[in-house]
Symmetry: D4
């Protein structure tokens, strides 16, 4: 049923030793393993026992990616507004890749500078599914939603201050998108967005 799916570990509350032990155990039976929200120390501990584990400092991901089979049918585009959203965008992008997808990143396309976004419309329209990562008022999700005819998975981020409320404002905005093709995941949950995008992009079942 779940062929090509990685095993995924939530790294936030694990010691380096726990992380290493779990990845060692999982990678013995699964080709691909992902540890999210991992510290560099955890990455080092994992690499000591599973040398092919890769560490992405920006996304804070540990990636064991041995089965590189392609499962995706079309292309996934990850779009984000500014540099502050890049860690979450990259978490989404790497999740898509480890699940066997071709992914394109489109960054620096905030809605207050519409011309930069409009220059990317052709790229956006090549997508089978779009992941839209945005903080603050998160208007990007609605604008992108209106530019494409495929599902848009919106990831609110926790950047901003004051009434950004740690990402709640972006989340609420995305849930109220006037574009009907938008669904939403938890704040900063680039992994979840990438995972669902990969499911949408898989070869049809029947």
């Amino acid at each position: 049923l779940r062929q090509g799916f990685p095993e995924v570990v939530y790294g936030a509350s694990k010691t380096p030793e726990q992380a290493a032990a779990i990845v060692a155990r999982l990678s013995a039976v699964h080709p691909n393993v992902l540890v999210t929200r991992a510290s560099e120390a955890a990455a080092r501990a994992v690499q000591a026992v599973v040398p092919e584990a890769r560490w992405d400092a920006l996304a804070r991901l540990i990636v064991v990616h041995r089965d590189q089979a392609r499962h995706g049918h079309g292309r996934i585009v990850v779009v984000c507004a500014g540099t502050t959203d890049l860690p979450v965008a990259r978490e989404a992008l790497l999740t898509c890749e480890v699940m066997g997808n071709d992914v394109t990143l489109v960054a620096d396309v905030g809605v207050a500078g519409l011309h930069r976004l409009l220059r990317q419309v052709a790229v956006l329209r090549q997508a089978r599914v779009v992941i839209c990562v945005a903080g603050m008022e998160a208007a990007l999700a609605s604008v992108v939603g209106g530019l494409v005819a495929v599902p848009v998975i919106a990831v609110p981020t926790s950047i901003g201050y004051g009434t950004a409320l740690g990402g709640l404002t972006a989340l609420l905005g995305m849930l109220n998108s006037c574009a009907p093709n938008v669904t939403v995941v938890n704040i900063d949950n680039g992994f979840g967005a990438g995972y669902v995008a990969a499911l949408i992009n898989r070869q049809p079942v029947g």
Copy 2:
């Protein structure tokens, strides 16, 4: 780009006269039109000018469905816990249908009576995408998410009292689902869930 997509009208704040005028105008150029959150009075006014418009009292939808072409690739399953969630589930189901999909409804499968849900696992596993409609604590989304390997679109509903907070509790629960294949739409937004499910289920683009 958007062939097979209905025109959609948000009926909540429109008078019967406004609704009738808009549907008359839209249905002159589009085969399929949907009015969400419509009153019965609006439905009657629309039918006076567009006789083939159908009125679904439970879903509060007005449906003009002339182009019945099938666009969906697999099957969509809409699952909900109890009778109180049925209006939202039906809004989702009819949206899928008008967008050319085969849909199955699985109702009365709350998680506190797990055996009823487990009897439906085979049906759930036939889905290319699942829509899960639930209120109160919304645990159904996580349980269903764990039972299938396809995207689950979760729709929180506003039923319940006290700390149900008009659906916010269900929404928050769904956003924190421990199943990674769950994305979420606004409270009671059966339409949005159906729309995205139809997009996921469409024939691949390339």
Copy 3:
């Protein structure tokens, strides 16, 4: 100091008799009087004692507009996304007018249909100040903010359902606009936006 300013009455909690008495008293000494959030009954009662009072049902405003002097320097543009935001947009527009300004309304330009908004860029760029009225995710404020180089006064509206939270989501989005030229007023406060726009647009003081 305040020449050309109307007297303004908050009509929400006043009986028709109270409204009539207040407007009678004020209009004896002030040429222009505005009653916001007024009922039709209040309008009828006012007109019985102040016949030149006009009643705008959409904006729920009673307007006594005898001094029609022009105080505005440039043009004010009021922009809103859909029909549901029109009552608030009209409250803003009429407030601007009674304060002696030329105003243009641009409606039906939601961000999910960007082409309609982009067709209005020239109109928007003629403004000395823009009022942007939007509900739901309120992305319009950021997009418009990026298209003009003048102040944008954003008015969140209470339309929507579920996580629209009666306009709080729109408000929060606008306060977090990534366009730096946006300031915000209370939910549904078209009057306040119009009033400040008129102040900005007045002849320079010195």
Copy 4:
């Protein structure tokens, strides 16, 4: 009235010296004393004056357990989903033990992997009362509530990020459980859950 009850100290805001002094005083007249939310430093200070005091680093509990009489009638089962909930689960478990109960821990049974939970149904059904410790969407409480016919005390935990809201989402979900046998305590309050479970499990009064 309260024979067999420990004296309980809330350690969170006490210095090691204060903790030691209080435990010394209490343990002179009470056989069993519990200090919750204690630091290791406090534990060391207590052990210097009350050598039989035990320190549980995971639960952050200091335990003086001299009267080991059995007061419980049946068995208490503590169930939790993942490793992150273990500290709270252990605080509950040790509270039950010091109050004279037999306790079983069932861990790693999240609802998104239902088969693991279903393998434990026989264990769950041996309980006179169940304590269910869960964070994020807390769906476990409803599912477990449906599997047993005894009281379930639900403890929301503060793990998670973004919309987990420090445990509020789990709490709200548990309060809205569709299983009628669920009551709830404060976020992370393993102690309170253990205490009430022990009261329920005591020999009948009359």
Copy 5:
């Protein structure tokens, strides 16, 4: 497993016809049936098909209570502060009764008039379990919790105004009770409290 448990129907969102049909079906195979949050119209419709159904207007409960076997071991005491909490208290009381328990109601014992509460200490101490129903600041739960050595199930009520926040303030207060024997159910959930009290009070399993 669940002998002596009533079938329970959530009446809030059902038409009289639906209620009657469900009760007719359930009461054909179950001796005892409860419909909560029922309207008088629903009660009349039920009585037309199940004549022994009783209607309690205060609690808004429909009760079919044919199997009157006693399942409770000790006594349940329901305590509430004032007359405004009586509907919820009575919902709890009747739920206990239909599940085969002896119940005592202690009303009009708010904490601001402590002498009235203190006069009832002997009654409270006869309880195997106490249900404490209170709105506003809900201090009663902590005071009662300190007076007894058995579990206290606290039910916050939605009475009050302003910062009572529809019962949230009472709920939060109860969750933070300084008495360790208090657990909490949803706002106004007298049924849930009664149900759990009955489970606690049942004959021991083994």
Copy 6:
């Protein structure tokens, strides 16, 4: 008008140098000066320039108290539940003293151990005004309010965890006190409570 009132400085956001400079300036013209929320470093800096300044580590107050005239008419009683509320209670107590009042502290009288509180009723009834400092569910305010016939100023504290919400739960409970003689100040605002208590206790004006 304000004879006998201290000058008060909010120390939270001031550097030691700023604090010293302000106190030096104020104490040159005012006999009594208070710095709230002061660090020890600030206290040391102040004492270098104003040697008679006293530092209270528990209350985090710097006190210059040269005019020791008695302005209070009756007695002020400060009551709090546990040791964790003592810093706030002491801030209130010292504020009362520097404003010329006799104050009594009653500590360790939580409502879950009612007997301890009842032993202090005679002391409470000697008060012209009571300050009640309490965190968590803050039930103490209502109980004390019912025991006396004078004003009770309630100070919610930020202790507790989870749903204590940093003192909001205590605040909300106090605002909903069923005792009518309770008014409330900001969370942890012992200073404000002491100040108002001193005003109430002053010799009558006329």
Copy 7:
């Protein structure tokens, strides 16, 4: 202890019959009785059995005021900004009167028209205690607090729309008043403010 205090009934959730019965019983043994939040129907029912009961439609109070002894020492001033706050202000004023106090009402003194407030400074300074009733941003409490040297009891009102949040904004503003002589009661709680003002204004105890 409580001589001169009225008996007070919370009328919000009582039927006219209940109100009449309670007032009949109380007024047989107490000279003064107050029913707050009473409907006109309740007032009529009460007057049928207690003819001297007075009904104040604005404050929604039923007042039995037979013992007209003067208990207040100084003067109480009730100040409010606009006409919308008058019902709450009058509830406070009548409570003070029935408790034997001289009261002055100062209305129509909002802070945005400071000159009107400043004209009343002499009146404000005659007060032994001030009650300040205000909605929206509630700035009046701070300004009045700075103008007098006596306690100010602030009553937030629920008027306003959008972000007025039913009075929460006014409440929060008052709790954060930069004037140290301000304490706060629940939203719209004119009664509570009047009650405490009367306590402050009573003849000294000793």
Copy 8:
């Protein structure tokens, strides 16, 4: 369109290296650059590559201000209550200056000491636009709004404790200002306020 506008960088989430690189790139083509929320380390790194960059420690701004042309028409007045609001006030002031405006700062004019504010009325009335920076109860915005006939841009600050809620209380108060000339920006957003004030104060377009 945007002549005389600085390039603005949001410094909060950038490393010193990133900040230096961005400013180097921008200042090569733009005369004026602003970095907000910058650390001292970032300032040093920027100055190493762009020597004319100035660092303002209080406002945490890096300023490159080469084109000193005057674009403002009138005067901007920045007003704040106390020393704690000065960092935000200064961020606003420097933003105005770098955009070519004459700015006056009026500090230490809290509403609880009205005389100090009233002494500044003449200064306030010279403004073409006022920026009002205030935390806690933010009443200053309404009072200032009533004293001038020009737009007031209100900036809530995050100072205070407890119910100050990190600036939300001030924000909500400002949005509910009873003065109609007040608009609001995000908490602590001195930059945004300064930017809009500069736009308002620019030479008229036509």
